[in-house]
Every structure is written in C-alpha cells, then in structure tokens.
C-alpha cells in the first residue's frame, strides 16, 4: 500500500477515535496510529483480546470501514515537508519489533497523544511499590493486576477517587485516600457551569459511595511526606512498607508534629497529568500555559494549531477528561475533513459541539483551580531525595548546581547535573526540577525542556537502513 494518507491521527484514545470516525468522509483515507496493542487510550483500556473500541455514538460500521487503525506503532518523529506541506509521520514497531520502521505521509494531521502522569519527587518515590495513579489504574484496567495488597492513594483531585474505587472494586484494600487540597473549593468554582458539573459530580459521588461502603477514610489537607522501605525480599529488593502523612499549609509545606504513619505495600501518587506535546513541539506548534500549571498546545475554534493542516484534540490541548477529549476529537475530525473536501460541516452540529466543549472546558478549568499543585516545597525536602530516577540525581545535586554553579533554569540544571537526560527524557522529573528552580519558568523555557526531537528511542541500525529517508532526500 502507498504511504500516502489524507488524514493521519496519532493516538487512538477518546479524542483520536472520535476524530477518526467523524473525519472518515467518503473519499478520504483516514489512518489512526497508536502505540498500544489495541485502541482506547487511557480511559478505555481493555484486555488485549477485546479489539473493538467504539466511542459512544460512533456506531456506523460503514464509516469505520474507511478507518485504518495501526496499533502497536510508536510515532517517534513528525515533520512537515517545506515544499508540499505534507506531514511525514515516522514510526517504529513495539518493544518486540523496534527495528521495523516506517513512514506515512499525510495531507492533514490530528495529534491526540493524550497525557502522562505528572510526577513529583518525594523521599522514597523511587521504591518498588510506589506508582503514579494513572499507572496503577492502567495496571488494573489493562491487565487486571492489583498494584499492592494495601494501598495508600495520595495526591490531589477527583482522580484519586477513581483510582481508589478501581482498587477496591478489583478486590484490593485502600488504607486511605490522602487529598492535599480541600474538595469544598470545587463548589465555589463550578457554580456557573451547571450542566457539565452535574454529570461529573454524579460520577464523583458514585466513587465516593463505593469508598464509603468499603470504609476507606478520606483525609484532606494532607500529603505523603516520606515513603520508607521494609526488609529486603527474596529477590534482593526493598519494597514499600510504610508511608508518612502530614498536615500541610496552602503551599503544601508540612506542619511539624502532625505525622501519621500507614503500614502499606503500595503508594499511588497523583499530581495531575502532563500533556504529551513532543510531536507538536517537533512541528513547531505554538504552546500556551494551562490552568493546571502545565503546558498545552494552542488551538483555535476548529482545534487547528498554529501550523497549517495540523490539528490537536484531547489532553494535548489541556487536561480535561474523557468527555471533553471526545468532543474536541469530533470538532478536529470535522474541520480536518472539511479542509480536505472543501465542504463546510453542518452549522447546527458545529454549534452544538462548540457549546458542549465550552461547558466541559469550563469545568476542567474549575477543577484545575480547585485542586492546584504548588511545587516550591519540593526544594525544601532532604538533600538525598532522588529527583531524576533514570540518572539517580538527588535534590542536593540539583541545589548545588543552582546555588554554586549558576544554573538558573531547567535546561542548565539538566546540562550540569544530567537530570532529565536518561531513558525517560525528563518525563518524570521535569515538573520537580521546575519547582526546584523556584522562579516560575516561562512558557518558552518550559516548552524547551519538554521538547524531545526523538519521542521514542529508535535503533540506529533501523535509521541507517531506512530507505524512506533516502527517497525523501532524493526528491
């Protein structure tokens, strides 16, 4: 088959699959590329056997027949051809087939790569048994495996309830849910967006009901300040055995004398999510700051980015939940298709989607404001706290680069300490490093530290042999 497509969608989550369905107009070749073994993204994670994820309201199989889904393909780079305006999508196979690489060419691109867990360094977070909330949820949803026997669910936001609920529903024990903010704040922020808030509040209430039935304590204005390991096990690993929780002030500084200890073998940390912007940054799309303190790609009414024929939807445009991702995906799909067919989408449909998007977006903003994540406290922890796990760089190392060596921003911290240079390319430590730098990094500086010219490692041998590149340069 030729490498030419009309629309390529990267990411088969709620946003990408909705976009694909809507964009699959007769005559358009639409392809969805996704790293996972099957479509569904973060939210609709299924066992590998259940292949067919269909977003609600997307039931016309004639449309799906026009959608090609390439699962198990990791996109490592994208770039636009200066002469034709086409976007080149470079991908490699999964962990077992990293040498299998390919290139597709698209007239329009929709980037729906979602988000990853946002992490913050605390003493002991590198221990086996500590994981991000999203990671724990994926484990349960994806493989039906419990993260631990007895888990402490910590962090902030309604997402903690979802994590705790799935643990108890899967038969695990949750020692407590530790919420750093106070959920009362939410009512103040959501009063104005009633329709969206009702559905979401009902969902949260359902989770809260599940937790109440399992007698899981819900403790607010506290956070975990230390995670300690127990004795070394038979495999020579020291896993989590205890977590210390303290009351905190509004900047999340712990109050002395309020220590409370939990005997647990698992701790989940949930500090929100970071949009996956690697590919959008490679294309040079304009980036903006999001209300949750992270970054998002800048899009217009049509979900179009600042680059021609490049659209984005879902968490890449700001963390907003699965419903907003679905609506944005539809808007992006409609407009990407309209751009190629030259036929304007139905006005009534567009209006209704825009209205839903506005409500859901308002709710997402309210959530971000009600559950803020300050980061300066990261700096005030013990110097031996590991910050960059890949390269084993401690908080003390970073503080001395900042105070003694003149590193004032995340980039120079990285150059002088190697924090963020390892396998994960700073995905786990960059939010902490920004906190340690103190000075609120501006969008450009944050975007610079989030930019990754190669999104996924690719074997040099595969690159050297790639005939597509040679053809590309011969043109």
């Amino acid at each position: 088959m030729s490498d030419q497509r009309d629309i390529i969608i990267i990411g088969a989550g709620a946003a990408g699959m909705n976009a694909a369905y809507v964009a699959a107009e007769p005559g358009l070749a639409v392809t969805v590329v996704d790293a996972n073994p099957c479509p569904g993204g973060q939210y609709h994670r299924r066992g590998a056997l259940e292949q067919r994820y269909r977003p609600s309201g997307c039931s016309d199989e004639n449309r799906w027949a026009r959608v090609e889904i390439l699962s198990g393909q990791q996109v490592y780079a994208v770039n636009s051809m200066p002469d034709t305006g086409h976007v080149l999508v470079r991908m490699r196979g999964d962990e077992r087939h990293p040498h299998e690489i390919g290139i597709l060419r698209a007239r329009a691109l929709i980037v729906t790569t979602g988000a990853m867990d946002r992490q913050l360094a605390i003493p002991g977070w590198q221990l086996p048994g500590v994981m991000a909330g999203g990671g724990a949820q994926s484990l349960i949803k994806g493989s039906g495996v419990l993260p631990g026997q007895r888990t402490l669910v910590t962090g902030t936001g309604p997402f903690l309830l979802a994590v705790a609920a799935s643990i108890v529903q899967a038969g695990g024990e949750v020692a407590a849910v530790i919420e750093a903010n106070a959920p009362a704040g939410l009512a103040r922020h959501t009063r104005k967006m009633f329709p969206a808030a009702v559905a979401k509040t009902a969902e949260a209430a359902r989770f809260a009901g599940i937790l109440a039935r399992h007698r899981v304590p819900y403790l607010t204005r506290r956070r975990v300040t230390r995670i300690a390991a127990g004795a070394v096990d038979t495999q020579g690993r020291a896993c989590v055995s205890e977590a210390t929780v303290q009351r905190i002030d509004s900047q999340w500084q712990p109050k002395p004398g309020t220590e409370q200890r939990f005997d647990v073998d698992c701790v989940t940390l949930g500090f929100g999510f970071t949009a996956q912007l690697d590919l959008l940054l490679q294309l040079g799309c304009a980036i903006t700051d999001a209300p949750d303190g992270g970054l998002a790609v800048l899009v217009d009414e049509r979900q179009a980015t600042s680059r021609p024929s490049v659209f984005a939807a879902g968490e890449t445009t700001g963390i907003g939940g699965v419903d907003l991702a679905s609506v944005e995906g539809r808007v992006a799909g409609l407009h990407a298709a309209a751009e190629l067919t030259g036929r304007a989408p139905a006005t009534a449909l567009v209006k209704s989607l825009h209205r839903q998007r506005r409500h859901l977006h308002g709710f997402a903003t309210a959530l971000a404001l009600a559950f803020p994540v300050p980061t300066q406290w990261v700096n005030d922890q013990p110097g031996e706290t590991i910050v960059c796990r890949c390269e084993e760089i401690t908080l003390g190392d970073i503080r001395s680069a900042r105070d003694d060596l003149g590193a004032t921003d995340p980039r120079s911290i990285k150059l002088l300490t190697r924090a963020g240079m390892g396998w994960c390319q700073g995905r786990m430590c960059s939010f902490s490093v920004e906190g340690i730098c103190g000075r609120q990094a501006n969008v450009a500086a944050q975007a610079a530290s989030a930019s990754r010219p190669v999104s996924v490692p690719v074997p040099l041998g595969a690159i050297a042999r790639d005939e597509n590149v040679m053809r590309e340069s011969a043109q």
């Binding site: 780079a77 980039r411 490692p457 074997p459 590149v469 340069s473």
Partner: protein
C-alpha cells in the same frame, strides 16, 4: 555589591569562563555577564573534544597545542568534576587512499609538535576492539582529550566566585556598551543595571558580532549548525574519540551544503555521542532526518555493533564561525578597552584555555605567548593591511 570591576566578560560559555579564570589568575576582579544561565549558548549544545588532530599546520594548530597544555594544567586547578579525560583520538581511513592521505597529514602535523602514530591491523583493533576490521588504517593522537564543556565553564566560574574574584550576573542581557569621550569602553549596560570596567571582553560566541556592533565595530560571525546523536547508555564499545578521515576535510571546508562525518565517542554516563553535521542554514533548529540518517550510517561504518544501540535523543547548536575559519582573539585596535574572544567555530571548547590565557596576557600588558595578529578583529576591514612579522 559593587558595580565596578577591572574587567567584564560578556558571555558565560566555556570561552568566557576561561577568560574570566585567567583574568582572575592575573589579579583582576571580574564580572561575568550572560543573558541566560551559565553555558546557555553553544557551550551547552556541543561536544567537549579538545583536539589537535583535526588542525592543519598554522595559527589554529599553534593555539590548539597551547590550549592542550593549559587544559592538562587546569585538571589540577579545578579537579575531576569537569570530566576531563586524556583518552586520545583516532582518525580512521576506511579506504587505503584515505588512510594514505591521513598519514601524510600526520607527518605535516608532527613537524609542528603534534604526536601522531599511524596504526594498522592488529594494533588498530587493540586500540578499538569494536572498530570495523575492514578499515585500512588509522592515526592515533594521544594528545586529544575530552571534557564536559558545561561543567568546565561552570566550575571555572564557580571557583572564581568562591574566591571572591568573580561576580556572576545571569539572566542579564547586555544591551549597550557605553564609551567615553576618547572612545574607550566604560563598561556594559544590561537590561537591569550598569556595570563599569575599563576592559570589556566580548565572549558572546555566535552572537559576538552583535556585541561588537554595540561597541560600534564590525566582527563578522555567522552560525554553522550542527546536530549530535545520543544513544542509550551502553557498556563501553568505544574507547577513544574515533572519527572518519573525511571529518578533517569538512572542518576546514567552505561549502555551505550539508556535511557529515561521524565522530564517535563514549561519555562518562555510558551514552555514545555521534557528531557532527555542519551546515550553514542560519538559526534554523528543525531537525533534519537526512542528517540523522547519514550520521547513523557513518557511525555504523566505523562501529557495526552500534546498529543495535537505540538513538535516545539529538541535540544541536550553532557554531560561531568567521569567513576565514579563525577565531577573533585580542584587543580591538579600533576601540580602546574592548577585547574579543569569540568565533571559535567547532573548536571553542578546545581552544578556550589558550584564548583565556592570551586575553589575560594582553589585559596586563605582557607580550603574548603566541602572536595575536592572525586573530585580529580588524582583519575583516576592507582597508586592513596585514602586518607581516619577519
């Protein structure tokens, strides 16, 4: 805090850091000013090779040999933190005729004091066991070294700061260089303050032309883009700094088109760096996959085992180059109190020690160890007549 110094160095890259270091050694008080952080410019975007091997006989090789000597002394002054490794370089000729060319080049260099030993067959593989056994031969340069340039810059400055002799001003963009009635510089103005000194050293690298313009003079410095590939951390595959013979030809080339010639080296952390491309495309940062592929192919030709290694990331920057590929070093005869230390192209890390040393000699009026004439800023003026030393 005082705003008055004996000297101000504009630019906290490896060249500025070295100038500051030797100025302090010469007894001066120094302010280092950078619009970003330490190593915010090209120093944070390149590799750390300190080479004599790639230089043809001439003023740059003399500078490199002096620098090489000074760097070995610097290890004792700033310690192991700068990851300085005297690992030696190996230039490899894949075909017989390139190897012959390499050998002839090495003979010329040897006449100027470069230690260069041709190696073939089993000796070559003993130096680099994973090298492609089909290579015709190589030349080993034991004087070549490697450092981590960001750490080198940071530690050179930090030492002076600890001694109370250097004041570091980061995030301070130099926007003006005021001059007195005589035309002599009086210091610099940054976005936040005015700093005074009778001596201003322009160590702004690729942006050195802009700083010169603030003082009213022309110094033509242009960007020459380069990308480097970084692999995942690996067990040691490459012992030395190994490059293909074409590299030397590219370094000296005037061609604007893309050139690549793999330079392969391991680092402290286990990653392997594969550099470097050379292109004149202005300040365009977009990654070019043709470049990535060519570098990968050339690296694999040298070390076939690298085929299994994963490319983890790429980075790159803009080398500061002058039309004649020589740096600009020393007092500017047109503006009293202004000195330049910029335009080192792809060798600024290596040449930084000698540059700083010569700047300090000029600052205190000692006659320089090397003639600064080939590096004079005025050489680009239309009416400039070169002074030929007998």
């Amino acid at each position: 805090m005082t705003n008055s110094f004996d000297a101000i160095v504009v630019g906290a890259g490896v060249v500025g850091a070295s100038c500051a270091h030797y100025l302090v050694e010469a007894g001066l008080s120094v302010a280092v000013v950078d619009r970003g952080s330490v190593a915010a410019g090209t120093t944070g975007a390149g590799e750390g090779n300190i080479l004599v091997s790639d230089k043809e006989p001439g003023p740059e090789l003399d500078l490199a040999l002096l620098s090489q000597r000074l760097w070995t002394e610097l290890i004792d002054v700033i310690g192991p933190a700068i990851e300085l490794e005297p690992k030696g370089g190996l230039a490899v000729g894949y075909e017989q005729h390139t190897f012959d060319h390499l050998r002839a080049f090495a003979t010329e260099q040897a006449a100027c004091g470069v230690v260069a030993t041709p190696v073939t067959g089993a000796d070559l593989l003993e130096l680099e066991p994973n090298l492609n056994p089909e290579a015709a031969g190589g030349v080993f340069y034991p004087q070549d070294m490697q450092t981590q340039p960001m750490l080198a810059a940071a530690h050179l400055i930090a030492r002076g700061v600890r001694m109370g002799r250097i004041t570091l001003h980061t995030n301070a963009n130099v926007v003006a260089i005021p001059r007195d009635a005589r035309g002599a510089v009086t210091g610099v103005e940054t976005t936040t303050q005015t700093l005074q000194a009778p001596l201003v050293v322009n160590a702004a690298g690729t942006w050195g032309g802009e700083i010169a313009a603030l003082a009213g003079v022309n110094v033509p410095i242009l960007p020459r883009r380069g990308f480097i590939l970084v692999t995942e951390p690996l067990p040691v595959i490459v012992n030395r700094k190994v490059y293909s013979a074409e590299y030397v030809a590219n370094v000296a080339s005037d061609d604007a088109a893309l050139q690549t010639a793999a330079v392969v080296e391991g680092t402290h952390s286990g990653t392997i760096l594969i550099g470097a491309s050379r292109e004149r495309v202005g300040f365009d940062r977009t990654l070019d996959w043709t470049v990535v592929q060519r570098l990968a192919q050339q690296a694999l030709q040298l070390f076939p085992r690298l085929a299994q290694a994963s490319l983890l990331r790429t980075y790159g920057g803009f080398r500061p180059y002058c039309p004649d590929h020589l740096p600009v070093i020393g007092p500017d005869a047109r503006v009293p109190g202004l000195m330049h230390a910029c335009g080192h192209e792809g060798a600024g890390v290596g040449l930084s020690a000698a540059t700083g040393f010569l700047i300090a000699q000029a600052a205190i009026g000692v006659s320089p160890l090397l003639s600064l004439a080939p590096f004079a800023a005025e050489r680009f003026d239309a009416h400039h007549v070169a002074v030929v030393h007998a």
